[in-house]
């Protein structure tokens, strides 16, 4: 006996990777999420490769890309907005050409990695949060600006194994222009909002950590927040059965924000001495987790954030961000990316490749890092995959060398 399931797609438009997108929803363009709507509305057909802004055959474009790479002394693989298969291909290309490799989200990824590599952390994943979290503290973020359906998919769910979902306590601590509406419970209970501007989070989170660690705090306010409020918050976290402290690296974009993240994760470490709590890093995608992870298992080190000015050619991959282009200045640019790329000035070479989850299949990591989901072609096209194009460029380079 087999169980028939409607074919469902996983949406790669953000790190949540909701895998409940039906073919029917795609056909009718009906989504509960604007990001998904935008992603599945992309038109990826009818675009040919270009060399210097002029239409070219795939073979001509591949030759031009190989020639540009051969001439470069210090190429850079960047953008890297792709899936695991694309990441593998790019790592190979970088090894092959001696290129450095980075990602469009390198700065937010590396902010988290600094904390991981300095102190480690204690974190959880979405299904644990869905079934256990009774207190969710969102620090400097509303999450939904990045992961639209976070509350729908993880928080205000019908059922959970170990907690009453509708009774969860949602607390926002700091952040700029947050959308706290999704934090309202299904029965209309408003979330608690402890307001402070993002730039003051370093001090506020440091005090919260001190309070959780039972350190003496003499101040009565910090950055306009009453210490008594933070004391109550610390007590709430300690009393929780499974407190979840959520941050989004991209929302903590001031200098040395990694120290704030470390204070968040060390607050979790302190809580776990006696009760249970976990951190949850949200946001993410353009395949950032996939690329960093694959880079790590293939090279033994995490991705890098190189200085653009020291490179003399860029391979730019923008499969999930067609509007994104590298900073002006570094030339030539070889785009292996979104067919619907938007160029202000034509790159040296443009080869449209299939976007995993839209034009072709693939595999992508979810933002919580433990789950990888297959991506299926929602609207299959015969565009070549990034893996195929990289293989062609490598063959060309090898042929040139021979």
């Amino acid at each position: 006996m087999t169980i028939q399931q409607d074919s469902m797609h996983a949406c790669p438009a953000c790190g949540l990777l909701c895998d409940d997108i039906s073919a029917d929803a795609i056909a009718r363009q009906q989504f509960s999420c604007g990001k998904a709507a935008k992603f599945y509305a992309r038109v990826t057909t009818g675009v040919s490769p270009q060399v210097a802004g002029q239409p070219a055959s795939l073979a001509e474009a591949v030759r031009a890309a190989a020639a540009a790479l051969k001439q470069a002394a210090a190429p850079l693989v960047a953008g890297s907005s792709t899936d695991v298969h694309g990441a593998r291909a790019l790592v190979r290309l970088a090894q092959h050409t001696g290129a450095a490799m980075t990602h469009i989200n390198a700065s937010s990824t590396l902010r988290n990695m600094k904390v991981l590599q300095h102190r480690g952390w204690q974190t959880t994943t979405l299904t644990e949060v869905r079934n256990r979290a009774d207190v969710i503290l969102m620090i400097g973020t509303d999450v939904v600006s990045h992961n639209t359906r976070f509350f729908e998919r993880v928080v205000w769910v019908d059922e959970a194994m170990f907690t009453e979902p509708a009774a969860r306590q949602i607390i926002y601590l700091g952040g700029d222009q947050l959308n706290t509406q999704p934090g309202v419970s299904p029965d209309g209970r408003a979330p608690e909002v402890i307001a402070c501007a993002s730039e003051h989070l370093p001090e506020v989170v440091a005090i919260l950590r001190a309070l959780v660690m039972d350190k003496p705090v003499t101040a009565t306010t910090v950055a306009g927040v009453a210490v008594s409020t933070l004391k109550t918050l610390a007590a709430t976290l300690k009393a929780a059965k499974y407190a979840t402290l959520v941050w989004v690296s991209k929302d903590l974009h001031y200098d040395h924000a990694e120290l704030t993240i470390e204070n968040i994760t060390e607050t979790v470490v302190a809580l776990n001495q006696k009760s249970r709590a976990m951190g949850l890093s949200m946001g993410g995608s353009d395949g950032d987790t996939s690329v960093n992870y694959a880079h790590t298992w293939l090279n033994g080190v995490i991705i890098d954030a190189p200085a653009w000015e020291s490179h003399d050619a860029v391979v730019w991959v923008n499969s999930y961000s067609p509007q994104a282009m590298p900073p002006a200045g570094t030339q030539p640019v070889i785009v292996l990316g979104a067919p619907d790329s938007i160029f202000e000035s034509a790159p040296a070479v443009f080869i449209p490749v299939a976007t995993p989850g839209l034009d072709c299949n693939g595999q992508q990591f979810r933002v919580d890092g433990s789950v990888t989901l297959p991506l299926t072609a929602a609207k299959p096209t015969d565009l070549p995959t990034l893996t195929q194009v990289v293989a062609l460029i490598e063959a060309q380079l090898q042929g040139d060398l021979a």
């Binding site: 006996m1 087999t2 169980i3 399931q5 469902m8 996983a10 895998d19 409940d20 695991v84 298969h85 593998r88 970088a94 090894q95 001696g98 290129a99 991981l116 590599q117 300095h118 102190r119 480690g120 952390w121 204690q122 974190t123 959880t124 994943t125 979405l126 299904t127 644990e128 869905r130 079934n131 256990r132 998919r153 993880v154 019908d158 059922e159 959970a160 194994m161 170990f162 059965k241 499974y242 776990n272 009760s275 249970r276 976990m278 694959a294 790590t296 298992w297 293939l298 090279n299 033994g300 080190v301 995490i302 595999q363 990591f365 433990s370 789950v371 990888t372 989901l373 297959p374 893996t387």
Partner: protein, 554 residues
Amino acid sequence: MITLLKNAKVIDPANHKDGVVQDIYIRDGRIIAKPADSEKIGQVHDLNGKIVMAGAIDMHSHIGGGKVNIARMLLPEYQAMRRLEEPEAHICGANCSHHATPNTTDTGMRYIEMGYTAAFEPAVLAVNARQAHMEMGDTPMIDKGGYAMLGNDDYFLRLLSQNADQKTINDYVAWTLHATQTIGIKVVNPGGISAFKFNERRQDLDQQHSHYHITPRRILQALSRAVNEIGIAKPLHVHCNNLGVAGNFQTTLDTMGASDGLPMHLTHIQFHSYGTEGDKKFSSAAANIAEAINSNKHITADVGQILFGQTVTASGDNMMQHLNAKVANPKKSVIMDIECDAGCGVVPFKYRDQNYVNALQWAIGLEVFLSVDDPWRVFLTTDHPNGAPFTSYPHLIRLLMDKTFRNDAFDKLNLDAQAMSNLKSLDREYSLYEIATMTRSAPAKLIGLQDRGHLGVGAAADITVYTEQADKEAMFAKPDLVFKDGELVVKEGKVVKVVWGATHTAKPTFDLGVEKDIKQYFDRYHTMQMNNFKISNDQIAEDGRNHVINHVQG
């Protein structure tokens, strides 16, 4: 084309051969009987009496998956930046985290260079299996496989607490093997990983789980029975409760009785052989453990030997790793709860020979090796990277084969640890035949790889050729030749051809009706669809290099 290995001195315990000089013929990746004289021989290697064994099989090595990759990330202070344009420029030393947790390419290369042709990832989190297979798929040269972790997943614990019948449990276990493309089942700190999520800090064998009100003993009974009844070869792989705790040997002894005589494999048993004697309340209980293994014929064990140096430990046991994090070196660690399925704990350690506990751990591992009589039931592992990186196997083999070498090393240990170990009274030196047993024949038999780990007609031609030397570390570090599926891939310790190996699985038949309830569970509680949890053969083969070899067992 036929390849001939002439005058091979064959050590092949599965076929009871101990130094028989003979010729080996290979065709299409398999060992064949002597062909008719009329058949053409394509390639001849005259071995002149060199030692020939089957390719070695590492039955427990953390080579792929989430926690291993976190371990790779964790020690940038030891990672002199690799210059990618010069891949060989970075040579890993004992203080380098690459050394302990190499990237996937290095993993495959270092294994094959030592004559290992397969390694099994023993802690595949079911929900993370896709990642584990991606990493193993990117590991060249060797065959791979995994054991899926069960016993802390809420689906199973719900079944057990609702008194589900054994058939349902069997079907779920078989379903998991299919879904995760694995060949065995492991349980890590039975019930403990789950209990940690409910704020418990220890889980004893007969202590009820605070939420599900079942004991680890019950979990072991149900899982060992399931594994037995669905008919896979690999016995339940057990990482006992109370990892690393002084006095835990009693838990280990009690665990041996938990399966009612059904086969069980106790893994990295060194970490579970600790007593509480002496001033420091930490002592060796290796003698008790070895005696129990000797008398309990249903039990097998691998050692998880520690060797001195920097490593990063990666375990599914987040409960105990959360405690161990206090002694992390450098001081950092990653602890995770994962998907109502499992957890993980990644903690760097520096094992030092002048540290009392570390020195005694070293001795305890060797005491276990030397006191278990039957090399078919004790396996050579360092629990890579937890006790030491797999690259230290040649050194470990020498410690087992060379009493003088071992005693010289012992004399350098922390003096208090020396006083607490009987290692020097153990005169045993392993023979080549015994080493071949514990690294070839026995792991193949244990996992159920009928055509691996031996050199009989019909076996896969995974073959390692060594020059016999007095220095066994030198001998095992650098075989003369290694053949993978009949192809010559290593010459004089260097890879001469890149191959990709396969993924071994076991997929016993089961009643697919079980999926109806599993799907309901996913729909009610999970954040992914059940269908996306399942990994297909095509997804394993994905980039065209890997393929699944399924073993029909039982």
